[in-house]
Symmetry: C2
Subunit: 211 residues, 2 copies
DNA sequence: CGGGCATCGTACCGTACGTTACGGTACTGC
DNA sequence: GCAGTACCGTAACGTACGGTACGATGCCCG
């Protein structure tokens, strides 16, 4: 859906309220915050459901970015890509807006007919996977990585990067990691991933190699 | 809080409704399902908040179990403990009730004054950590593991075990792993953990060793 | 047997909120 | 100038739901 400037402002207001109050804002609250009439909200977004969906969709689609090389990778480039990826991802999921959005989406995901969970899932973990797997496969093609199943490799990387950070934040743990901690951990998680899947190390672990 | 048989039935009804409908049940619905009067609900649990809290608390406290040896461990015992731990944890978080409960807790975690998020956090990730860290430290004391920070080690183990499984399920991904897949992965995650933190391997990775 | 107690079923109250309706205002094109 | 359009502000409607009140029913205990 194409959005005018004014409509974006409305969604900004909705998101701000969502972050502040911790729950889906009421139509009244959005209208007041955005200084628009409720009738306009209904005209533009169809109703509460549409308004929240539009809010989530716009924010979720902004998680994009960070194009990664898929050909001609060497160890340095691959490592840097993964570190950047990890850092970027951690910054995203520890952000206030992302936490609020994920809480909303998770809270609704069990209800028949609601789309927020699907949207966040598609633009979150699944989008990360779609963008990362080609990178991993390029690394394998270049002889830098060694794994049989790229989905498995992705999931391990995800686990090493995210660990218990996201679920703890979603459950209300107040301790958000600092910028520095995130940067450090991005490097560390990437190193651990290389330790498990780097082609230059012997496989002294439980992963399945190609052979 | 001590709970009578009848009160447990009421909480069973509340949990069943929560799982079925995907959202917190109404007081009317619980009363009808449990064949009790609303007045009784308010008398027993104080109100909606108390009822939901009691429901979550009871279920969350059942995640206990699996005592693990902390002294005299050898490699086999330690490995088995970790595999069991991983398997147990994965079965829990992929269960229908756990998913519904976590959705409820996450959805409320951002709202001032709600306790569900804290309860699930305490009985979930934090409880896992409290029970696992002594095991890891026992493994280190026995010369089987090598890490500087037991919290770090725990978090890596958590990541290797849970990966993106939980967040995807919470967001509504329908593909729950089979029993077999869980068992297999518990073994694999443990092997990967040993590859990173086993004392008998050289550290060709990014973790910090004691020295 | 009879009074107290716990619980059920149901009716009721107040409020929050999604949704709709409508009058008023500014801007645009003819 | 004037119709048409878009939007704002506010009032009103309907419903869902948390919470309360109350009579009816069964049970325990003296």
């Amino acid at each position: 859906m194409e959005l005018t400037e004014r409509q974006q402002e409305v969604l900004d207001a909705a998101l701000a309220l969502l972050v502040e109050r911790g729950e889906a804002p009421t139509m009244n609250a959005v209208a007041e915050r955005a200084s628009c009439s409720k009738e306009t909200l209904y005209k533009w977004f169809g109703g509460r459901e549409g308004l929240l969906t539009a809010t989530v969709q716009r924010q979720a689609s902004q998680v994009q970015g960070l194009p990664v090389p898929e050909s001609g990778v060497d160890e340095e480039v691959l490592r840097t890509s993964l570190v950047q990826f990890a850092r970027n991802w951690l910054r995203t999921i520890t952000g206030e807006a992302s936490i609020a959005l994920n809480r909303l989406a998770v809270g609704e995901a069990g209800i028949e007919g609601r789309a927020l969970g699907r949207i966040v899932l598609e633009n979150g973990p699944l989008a990360m996977r779609r963008r990362l797997e080609p990178v991993l496969e390029a690394g394998r093609d270049a002889g830098l990585l060694d794994f049989a199943d790229s989905e498995e490799a992705f999931r391990v990387f995800f686990g090493l990067v995210v660990r218990d950070t996201q679920i703890r934040l979603l459950l209300g743990d107040a301790k958000r990691p600092s910028r520095q901690a995130i940067d450090d951990h991005a490097v560390q998680a990437t190193a651990q991933f290389f330790a498990l899947f780097g082609a230059d190390h012997r496989g002294a672990d439980g992963r399945r190699r190609k052979t």
